[in-house]
């Protein structure tokens, strides 16, 4: 049983990992992540990379929707912009991986700020609908600029090269994707230790009062869009390098719904929620694949998989919103609290 955690300095109180056990677990986690590529099969490495990319994007969306309260159904569009930018740069100019990802993030950021501009006049649901519009426009852009984006056929992305090594397998890409995701998560956690993060939460809870207290609304809403889209853009770039091919259909509205579901299911407004939600939402289709292939459906299995997946996404959103609106992160917290208090109940 954990009996309180006394701190002796303000700095200690604000630290991310606030007890010796937490620090130990964190180190163990890092070690496990580092050892993973050496012991896992190709399939699991593939999943790990995919999960990681989804975590990065979900974290971005969580910053915008979970922390700042600006519902967005345009995450896929921002990812697409980042993905296409990175792909075009790699294909045309062979520029370094990190630079391409960064540029992808920047392009997505610019788009994010543009989409966020109406957010002062336009509240809540209207903004969500505007983000759908952004998605439609982005899709149009991707499909109708064949000189730049390859049109409906899309682009095939050559593998990146770092220090002469071609990143053409999941195992190799793992060493790029996971550290980048970790950095993005760290950045988000840092954000909410400072006034910027607090301002975001204030905007979510009561934006008029936030303004009267000294927070310029438009500037901070745009900042939230900017940071969130940057994350999405980087995730999109990683997506392009990972799948080695992107088309306008790679970033549909359904993907935006996927990420919204990840944020809701995981827990809005928490870093842990972004991680849990992305892991859950990525593994659920894999689980479904296993279940469906185990059922005696014969050749119909693949036909059934896609609609079942769609149903499950929607059902997860509904079920979590009704029964566990604070998401998996809250369930995790409850379990932890039960452990800390054991043998007491409350």
């Amino acid at each position: 049983m954990r009996i309180g955690s006394a701190k002796q300095s303000y700095g200690a109180d604000a630290a991310l990992f606030d007890s010796r056990t937490q620090k130990a677990w964190a180190l163990l986690g890092v070690a496990a992540l580092a050892a993973f590529p050496f012991i896992a099969s190709e399939y699991w490495l593939y999943l790990a990379c995919l999960v990681s990319i989804n975590i990065a994007s979900a974290m971005g969306l969580n910053i915008l929707t979970g922390y700042t309260g600006l519902v967005s159904l345009g995450q896929a569009a921002f990812m697409g912009l980042g993905g296409y930018t990175a792909a075009i740069l790699q294909l045309r100019y062979g520029t370094p991986l990190l630079l391409n990802l960064f540029c992808g993030g920047v392009v997505a950021t610019v788009a994010g700020v543009l989409v966020g501009l109406p957010s002062l006049r336009v509240k809540g649901l209207y903004l969500a609908i505007a983000t759908i519009a952004a998605g439609v426009m982005a899709h149009f852009l991707f499909a109708h600029l064949p000189a730049l984006t390859g049109g409906p056929a899309g682009l095939s992305v050559p593998p990146a090269r770092i220090f002469g090594v071609e990143l053409d397998t999941s195992a190799k890409l793992y060493w790029v994707i996971v550290p980048i995701t970790a950095l993005l998560l760290l950045g988000a956690a840092n954000l909410f230790r400072t006034r910027i993060g607090r301002a975001f939460i204030a905007i979510r809870d009561r934006d008029i009062s936030a303004e009267v207290l000294g927070i310029p609304l438009l500037r901070y809403k745009l900042l939230s869009f900017a940071i969130s889209s940057f994350y999405a853009g980087v995730a999109g770039g990683l997506f392009a390098y990972f799948f080695r091919a992107i088309t306008p259909e790679s970033f549909p509205l359904l993907m935006s719904i996927f990420f919204l579901a990840a944020v809701i299911v995981g827990g809005m407004g928490t870093v842990l929620g972004s991680v849990l939600g992305a892991v859950f939402m990525t593994l659920v289709p894999e689980l479904l694949k296993l279940i469906v292939s185990a059922l005696p459906l014969g050749g119909n299995a693949t036909l059934v998989l896609s609609p079942v997946r769609t149903i499950v996404f929607g059902a997860l959103i509904i079920v979590f919103l009704i029964f566990e609106p604070l998401g998996l992160a809250e369930m995790w917290r409850r379990t932890r609290r039960a452990f800390h208090l054991w043998p007491f109940r409350t």
Partner: protein, 281 residues
């Protein structure tokens, strides 16, 4: 012989403020001044326009006519976040704490406009950002949390607090704004006697220790009369009386506004007796 000192310039001057919503006149030519270091009370029956005055001072409403001069500077066209940075702090009638945050984070938010950390500093949690956060934490703990006796709830989510404590946290947040002028909208509404006395004590100490001026909207007449140096009475959006508490109390317009027309003399006598009784107690 030294020249006589000129009277101190008012901290806040409101002149001819008029505010209308469609056809409804919320404020009609409101004029008053708040002297630095004073506690001024804004009173009046429900619907008189008191919160409208506050909302106009905050910058939430733009008046159709009139001007607001704060520390010699006109506030026309100054957006609300800028007014906060100038030292205009405010608490709200219906508590406006941010439910998704703890008490400590809410208070830290008050200091927002005086902090410097930008987006990049925040993302990388640079040493400068860390220092700023620690300084902030230290100052809030030592000056505000101890002062308002809320150390036992600093990590509690504000939604779980009792009403009286929430109001205290609101005051704490307003204090974190480094206020020159503290606008308190019904600071003791819904409080019992003990909580009211605690709050009154805090307000007096704020005036003394923080060099802040207080303008409060209040309905609790005891508190108004005991605490304030100056009282402004509103009714139907107009100022119907202003002056020291004793004068305003005796003003027949005020009495009629609150109590309707009746025997003013008898009422005045009752007030006087009640005030005497309180002073003896």
């Amino acid at each position: 012989m030294p020249a006589p000192a000129s009277p101190p310039r008012p901290l806040l001057e409101v002149e001819g403020l008029s505010l209308a919503f469609g056809g409804v006149k919320a404020l009609d030519g409101v004029t008053f001044a708040v002297q630095p270091g004073s506690i001024t009370a804004l009173i009046g029956p429900n619907g008189a326009g008191k919160t409208s005055v506050f909302n106009t001072l905050s910058g939430f409403y733009a008046p159709q006519a009139g001007r607001i001069v704060f520390e010699g500077r006109s506030l026309a066209g100054v957006p609300p976040p800028r007014r906060a940075a100038l030292g205009l702090a405010r608490s709200f009638q219906n508590i406006a704490l941010f439910r998704g945050m703890t008490v400590l984070d809410n208070i830290k938010l008050g200091r927002h406009c005086h902090l410097k950390t930008g987006a990049l500093g925040a993302l990388f949690y640079t040493p400068a950002a860390r220092r700023e956060e620690e300084e902030l934490r230290r100052e809030i703990e030592e000056r505000i949390i101890d002062f308002l006796e809320i150390d036992h709830i600093r990590h509690a989510p504000v939604g779980s607090l009792a009403y009286g404590l929430q109001k205290r946290v609101e005051l704490a947040r307003a204090l974190a704004m480094r206020p020159r002028l503290l606008l308190l909208d019904e600071p003791v509404a819904g409080m019992n006697r003990e909580e009211t006395e605690d709050m009154a004590r805090f307000i007096l100490e704020v005036r003394r220790e923080w060099d802040a001026t207080v303008l409060m909207v209040e309905h609790d007449m005891g508190m108004v009369m005991d605490l304030s140096d100056h009282v402004v009475v509103l009714n139907f959006g107009q100022v119907i009386a202003r002056g020291i508490p004793a004068e305003v109390q005796a003003d027949p317009h005020v009495v009629r506004a609150y109590l309707g027309s009746g025997d003013v003399v008898a009422l005045r006598e009752r007030f006087r007796r009640a005030a005497v009784a309180r002073q003896a107690a």
